[in-house]
């Protein structure tokens, strides 16, 4: 057994993430169970019951209450954690804005799942992408190890006094929450060294009264929003910095804002987020063996959207294909739209084509990736189709 794999354990993704949360030592956890997030909070509940984790675990009647409980707890100065998915995230919608507007550094794992109707419990990323504008930071994990590591990093980013912004650590439901794979669980002492106890700048204190979530009339509202906007811009630097600090302590790094795979000489670049990256890497390995210059750009930070880093990373691509598990019904889809917006005022004039795929848990296979690359090769000479649903079953329509 090599030194690199010596501490690895085969555990369920949800357990690995719950263990990471335990290492972050939240004062308060509040969540409502919903598939495929349930195992994360079930494990945390067990850890609290067993005395492994000294946290207040509050069971509530809904996701709306779960996050509302954390608004109070965070205002009182606690480090807070929740986890949800799909309809649960939708039910939190109003509170998501309250948390970000009150600049509470809450961390939440989102076990990405489709949103109904039609009812579907399987994975896609419609839930989190649909919440892209609520003022939370969003980091997407490729595999369980990344979800574990990003959870610890998330508190360090969120609690920075310059940032003070909540984070969703997004991991694909089932694909990452229910998979058993080798993971290096975080070392508690090292985690504590990396992430000291939370030192809130302002707390609800009767001795020193303050107004939290104040009323803001037209003379101040814009400035409150601007502060949030500015904090997200500062997070671009902080996310990268924390990823590097994590590397120094734990020896793992897979990009701060972005990461590339065979990107340097790639002519065709696939851009995506989340667990489908594993499949794409396998497809690229096979295509590279055939001499095709295909590369991958992983978007790890979707909010803040790393415009400058994307321009730099994709400046030499001759065609860009975006694949994502969401659709902006009435528009195109989140990532492809943002990417096109990022490039419009730049010198990059490579064609960008978008694919929505893997909705509601439909598998994305190596064959599908080859299909996308073939379409990208066509688009290089002239875009035939700007945006499409991959593998649409026209026979049942």
């Amino acid at each position: 057994m090599s030194e690199k794999t010596a501490n690895m354990k085969v555990v369920e993704g949800s357990y690995a993430v719950a263990h990471a949360v335990m290492c972050c030592r939240p004062d308060v956890i509040s969540a409502y169970p919903i598939t495929p997030q349930t195992h994360i909070v079930e494990n945390l509940s067990q850890m609290v019951a067993d005395g492994e984790l000294d946290s207040e675990f509050l069971t509530v009647d809904s996701e709306f209450s779960a996050l509302s409980v954390l608004v109070g707890s965070s205002a009182a100065g606690g480090r807070c954690y929740s986890s949800t998915t799909s309809q649960g995230l939708a039910l939190m919608y109003e509170v998501l804005y309250n948390v970000s507007g009150m600049r509470m550094p809450i961390v939440m794992n989102v076990a990405n799942r489709a949103i109904g109707a039609p009812l579907n419990i399987w994975n896609d990323q419609q839930d989190a992408i649909g919440a892209r504008d609520v003022g939370w930071l969003q980091i997407y994990a490729e595999n369980v190890q990344e979800a574990v590591d990003a959870t610890l990093q998330a508190y360090k980013i969120a609690e920075d006094v310059q940032i003070r912004t909540p984070i969703m650590v997004c991991m694909d439901g089932f694909v990452l929450t229910h998979v058993y794979e080798p993971v290096e669980l975080l070392d508690k002492e090292k985690a504590e060294e990396f992430l000291p106890d939370y030192q809130p700048a302002d707390i609800l204190d009767p001795a020193h009264p303050k107004t939290f979530g104040a009323f803001a009339d037209p003379s101040t509202f814009t400035e409150f929003r601007y502060q949030q906007f500015e904090a997200q811009q500062k997070a671009l630097i902080k996310i990268e910095k924390v990823a590097r600090e994590f590397e120094e302590t734990f020896g793992r790094y897979y990009g701060g804002l972005l990461d590339g795979y065979f990107l340097d000489d790639a002519e065709i670049v696939i851009v995506t987020l989340g667990s489908v990256i594993g499949t794409i890497k396998d497809a690229i390995d096979a295509m590279r063996a055939e001499g095709k210059k295909v590369g991958l750009l992983k978007v790890r930070s979707y909010r803040p959207f790393p415009v400058q880093a994307l321009r730099k990373a994709l400046k030499d691509a001759s065609v860009i294909a975006v694949i994502e598990k969401d659709v902006a019904i009435g528009g195109e889809a989140g990532l492809v739209t943002d990417l096109k917006a990022a490039f419009y005022n730049s010198n990059i004039r490579s064609p960008i084509i978008g694919f929505t795929a893997g909705l509601g848990g439909r598998d994305i296979t190596i064959k599908d990736i080859r299909n996308i690359v073939a379409k990208a090769e066509v688009a290089r000479k002239g875009i035939q189709s700007e945006f499409e649903f991959l593998n649409l079953r026209t026979e049942i329509l």
Binding site: R103, K210, T211, A214, Q227
Partner: protein
């Protein structure tokens, strides 16, 4: 008013932020009809009706002209008047 990140301001910020300007109708109290049941004070959602020298009056820095006082008054002692400036 200085602002701090987190929609956070000094306590009692409503003393600075006066919201009565939202009002279209203003309640006018007929103290002759008033029986001092205090229902207007109890029901006012802004809590801005109070007594001055024994008479019920709205604090117009905060009254939004919602008409709840006029609706609740059993003696029809409150009339809502279009306020023009």
């Amino acid at each position: 008013m200085a602002i701090k990140a987190g929609s956070l301001v000094e306590a009692c910020s409503t003393r600075i932020t006066k919201t009565g300007a939202w009002r279209t109708f203003v309640p006018v109290f007929d103290h002759e009809k008033c029986i001092k049941c205090s229902l207007c004070e109890i029901y006012c959602p802004e809590g801005c009706i109070h007594q001055e020298e024994g008479l019920f009056v709205p604090d117009l820095d905060y009254c939004k002209g919602c008409s709840v006082c006029a609706n609740e008054c059993p003696r029809m002692a409150v009339t809502m008047i279009l306020e023009e400036k």
